[in-house]
Symmetry: C2
Subunit: 391 residues, 2 copies
């Protein structure tokens, strides 16, 4: 066997998501992920304190070859780092990705890539100019279950997909769980349900009604209608609902048909109130010949069902439901698949992943921009602009 | 026992819905419906042919005391008729209800009461002026399961209801099943998914987020956003999705909270593709303490589930799902409950039902008006106006 392609990671930020991702990186070889790629963490940085970095490195038992930083600026300059994983708050993604790109590093940045589409376009231009890899860490797209479902749509197994309904909702006692300063509700940190959770609902909608199509047929939604419930204390959205009309359907055997979609997110009521999936699927992909449903959470589904359409009495004896399981090992979150994709792209000299092209990242952000505009969710100018030096 | 209140019905129209309703009228005494009311069909009218009327009367084995008409005008003048049941196409409801009211008859009219809110207001004013009973035949509101669910919401069993999602969709091969002339898709007959099926989705939303509240707290939606897919041959909607924000939540223990709702309807993809409810509930009523779900079809649910919120590991052993069945006898559709309500109202001298007040009928129609405006569904002026003599 050829020796694997070694990818050297610099971790920017030491919060929960950074921990989860890094754990998964280390598990990549253990599980069924891509054995042609090998991940090494060569640097970790907290922006504020070496103490935080050391704690992170010790907790995850990273090797002594890993350099600790208390500055992002110095970490991104480390020649032992190939790719920077940005795990800072949404509000800071633009600045931090730009910092990494300007130091000549490839970047994987937590979702959403930026606060708005304009910032994302600016970053993609910069990455193209510098010939550097850039991707949003929308890990859900790289789960094996996701590819399998997409393949079924493309093959027309449920006919023409004409509606997709996705819900990504936590039933929190908002004030008690998050308070007003946490990034979940703090507008200064680009807080709110849409950017944090709703993006998964939109991701599934784009996967089914945009990404499932050949590139030449992919079209952004022709209609976007959104309503938001803004938290009465912070003004961030605690509930967002978005209706979308796509000018296409997938697999597009009937070119004149359109599709509709509903993207839901809510902090106060839950997709899954009893934590056992009793309430039903989080994702319904509805086609003319049947339906694919995925149990939630939408960001990491582990089971799907294909429900075939049965018309009339003669269909009654046919088993109409097929269940397929894709368990993720319980010690992992399931982020190593996206990390492997980064490795493959870098190995093959690609600056964007075909599973999540820049155009699509931007298209999803454009929907969120419009939803926020209609819903009245405004962030401070300092985090909306694309002025690198301003922050 | 006192002798029952006898209600003498004139049936206007001899199509499928008239047959279904009349059968249920005759079954009323047999099943668990209100035994203080007795229904008699004293007249049946087709507008075009005595043949159709005779066929109807024979097929349903109506008594010989029933008079046959080939004219609505003469039927509504029949002194043996107390209340007229209008079962003609939506497009003609305004004219036919007005005809009955002008003859001094009480009216139960198939849903939607009229094509738009303006026509409905005009009819309600006429009924009030003449002191005549008028109600839309939204039979779903009078099912025992519906009262039970509403009572649970009012008692706060699932906490504050913050989102309601309802889908009423048939997966038809539209062109083959309906063609372009059928009222389902014919704009001249006020065709389209919204007025025919979507009204049930809206009904459940209004039940939960409007009707469940005390009258003084009921408020029409503060936000309405709709998207429609118009049939490329007729221009009637084959798919409609509506987002609603209500300025209240129910039972309204937290007055500053708002609720959101999603009303869906679709002719090409189905709520229930295999006809076994495998795809999950048609109605999700989501509260802060749990959820009530109803299996479809939304117009006649026969089962609901209460899913209680379980947080954390200690909840895992608690049975979180409670199932309640309300089977409707298979020979009936379940419309006798609404017929009994008409009887009780007339017996008690009421001109509107508190279970479906005029204000609420109009509020639902106003949502449909706005949805059609946003979705670009326009009906011919002749069926939109409220000029009685014009038709």
């Amino acid at each position: 066997m050829d020796s694997p392609f070694i990818l050297r990671w610099g971790i920017m930020g030491t919060g929960n998501i950074a921990k989860t991702f890094t754990k998964d990186l280390l598990l990549s070889q253990k599980w069924q992920s891509d054995r042609t790629i090998s991940h090494v963490v060569t640097a970790v940085a907290s922006s504020s304190s070496m103490e935080k970095t050391r704690h992170f490195v010790n907790e995850l038992r990273l090797s002594s070859a890993c350099t600790n930083y208390d500055s992002y600026k110095f970490m991104v300059a480390d020649p032992k780092v190939d790719v920077v994983y940005v795990a800072t708050p949404h509000s800071h993604h633009f600045q931090h990705v730009m910092l990494a790109l300007e130091s000549g590093k490839h970047v994987l940045c937590e979702k959403p890539l930026t606060v708005n589409a304009y910032q994302a376009r600016t970053l993609c231009e910069e990455a193209r100019k510098r010939n550097l890899f850039l991707m949003e860490a929308m890990w859900t797209r790289f789960l094996p279950i996701t590819s399998d479902v997409l393949e079924k749509i493309r093959r027309g197994q449920i006919g023409e997909v004409l509606r997709v309904v996705v819900d990504t909702s936590f039933g929190d006692d908002v004030e008690k769980t998050w308070g007003t300063q946490h990034r979940m509700l703090n507008r200064d940190l680009a807080g709110g349900a849409l950017l944090d959770l709703g993006i998964y609902s939109l991701t599934w909608i784009f996967l089914c009604l945009y990404h499932a199509l050949p590139e030449s047929l992919r079209q952004a939604p022709s209609g976007i209608a959104a309503q938001m419930t803004l938290n009465h204390l912070t003004g961030a959205d605690e509930a967002s609902s978005i209706l979308l009309t796509f000018p296409t359907s997938a697999p597009n055997d009937v070119p004149e048909w359109k599709s509709q979609a509903v993207a839901l997110t809510n902090l106060r009521v839950s997709t899954d109130p009893d934590g056992k999936n009793s309430a039903g699927p989080a994702i319904r992909i509805q086609g003319t010949k049947g339906e694919i449903q995925l149990d939630g959470p939408s960001f990491r589904p582990e089971r799907y069902r294909v429900i075939s359409r049965c018309d009339g009495a003669e269909g009654q004896d046919i088993e109409s439901v097929k269940v397929v399981d894709y368990p993720v090992p319980s010690e992992a979150k399931g982020m190593y698949w996206e990390a492997d994709e980064v490795g493959r792209c870098l190995r093959d000299g690609k600056i964007q992943s075909q599973s999540l092209p820049w155009e699509e990242i931007i298209a999803v952000l454009e929907v969120m921009d419009e939803a926020r505009r209609q819903g009245g969710l405004i962030y401070p100018e300092a985090i909306e602009n694309a002025s690198y030096s301003s922050y």
